[in-house]
Amino acid sequence: MSDNKPTYLLGLACFYHDSSACLLKDGVVIAAAQEERFTRIKHDENFPEYSVNYCLEAADITLDQLSGVCFYEKPLWKFERLLLTYIQEWPRGFFSFLKAMRAWLNKKLWMEHIICKELGKVSGIKNKKGKSVPYSGKIYYVPHHLSHAASTYYPSNFKNATVLTVDGVGERSTSTIALGEEQKLTLKEEIVFPDSLGLLYSAFTYYLGFKVNSGEYKVMGLAPYGTARYTKEIEALIEIFADGSFRLKPEFFAYRYGLKMTSSKFAKHFGRPVRNTDDELTQWHKDMAASLQQVAEELMLNLVRYAHKQYGGKNLCLSGGVALNCVANGRIVREGPFKNVYIFPAAGDAGGSVGATLYVNSIIDPKPKAKSIETIYLGPKFSNQMIESFLQDSGIKYDKIDTAADRAVKVGQLLADNNVIGLFQGRMEFGPRALGNRSIIADPRKPENWKRVNIKIKFREDFRPFAPSVMADKAQDIFDLRGVDSPYMLLTAGTKVKDLPAITHVNSSARIQTVSAEDNKPYYDILSAFNDLTNCPVVINTSLNVRGEPIVWDHIDAFKCFIRTDMDILVLENFIINAEEVDKNFFKTKFELEVFADD
């Protein structure tokens, strides 16, 4: 490779849940996206062909210019763990064995072949017989928790840090502690399957009638409505050691050998069967969610304290699916022993593609650590020209605003007039949160906005709270953030004011996004314009999608979301569309959209 040619690494995370791809150019992440946004299948696990395609297009390169492809786990380590588990659980794991082996024999054991073939399809290069030419470059397999650790350590900009990763399970690790020193990242210790904080949370998610691997945040949202009166009963399922490590008592959990998360003894222990999805959520379920949340927070704090005791330092980086638990994160920041805490915004498996490339890059280029991520807005963007063509071709009425400054003032005024606004601008966010570029925003001072957005716009459970976006320079006056910023909506903190009912949870907390002009100037300017009119630097911010669907990725999906819901205004870059001027039923028919029961 010649010196002046850039080094490109493509990262892949797929075949479990939340597939994604990312592209690294000379050690800096320049593009990343989750496959679900393009395919419209929530938590899509398939090979991320659209994401790969987007990444290559964003850099205007072809597959043969890649220095390597980095996969976010070592498949055969995982296979070894599966076999070992079936040995340990023999003979009751028979049906699970049949199901798992079918998947492994048909697909996962041939990972290299599948990745090469799928990448070949994306490249579009055909041989004489018209078949796609498979990718033939290098593929690097980075252990799952090392991918998680790298995804948070390298973007943190700490010169050294202790890194804690906690999720369901990778190959065999369920929690790890790593040490980062300059460009070198070393995994030191691990807790292994089946003892897993992530799987404990998932087991209760299943027990409370929500979907595993996607409903965990609903349990977290439900918790403040309950009282933690069953913590003793939950702790009876766990053996907690003096150093904070833990063991899940196997008789209560069935995920090792069965097709369910919990055993019959689990239900007997709590005296109630597994809740069906459609059953009513009673106070008992809310109390159970609250108890679980409290136990999970304590276990996380134990792990953090142990990591500090063993390895010291003042910087902590967190990653893994459990690091998306923003309530636990808030407690780690407030009560934990580390001075500085960084959490990667795509802390779940989707972020594995980024971590895998960053780790491989650290070996290719071991010079002192540079800034590896400049922004989390790493997805596609659409020009005003493209959007205007779409609006004109579709016969949609719109107002065009010429400058960014005028647009901010106009949107601020519309918010102050109590409109619920779909905001589509700039590059799509990477990670599970909408951070102002694919968001629905509204005035948080109006209590009715909570129910209105939940029921008439998002079509989701009415208990679920909304998060606030707040101007970073005013955040400390409104929220009890204790000097810490929360740019990725990964921390909860108490609210200091009482006049923001739509974003304040029943326990007076909120899941906060602090917005600075450096991170997202167009969004900051909107908040600032709204503040000038109302003296309120906060807005409701929820993702631009309806229940059960991924966040929108392009302007067409954004418009489809708009006409299916009760939103008042849609802002597509410099174009403003008013619901009063659009015949939503006409466009529903035109775009052949499913009509919701509430319509």
Partner: protein
């Protein structure tokens, strides 16, 4: 007439092939269950018995933390799936 007969033969052949593939898939599925069953109850079973015997001599751990081994630190190690 000959062309008509050839077309009919082709259609029949295609149907026959489709039927055979359907049947072969079912047979394949049953085969897979039987073979996996043999692997599970014999091979996995033998290891399971050995594992259970070893487990009897295992001490109760004082911590669930253990050292992380085999971190791949070179590109050659990263190229391996294990």
């Amino acid at each position: 007439m000959l062309i008509f007969e050839m077309d009919a033969l082709k259609t029949f052949g295609k149907k026959l092939w489709k039927g055979w593939m359907w049947f072969a898939e079912k047979i394949g599925w049953i085969n897979q269950q039987i073979l996996l069953g043999v692997v599970y109850f014999i091979f996995i079973g033998i290891y399971a018995l050995i594992y259970d015997a070893i487990k009897l001599f295992k001490h109760k751990p004082e911590t669930m933390w253990r050292e992380f081994e085999h971190q791949p630190e070179t590109l050659e190690a990263l190229e391996k799936q294990f």
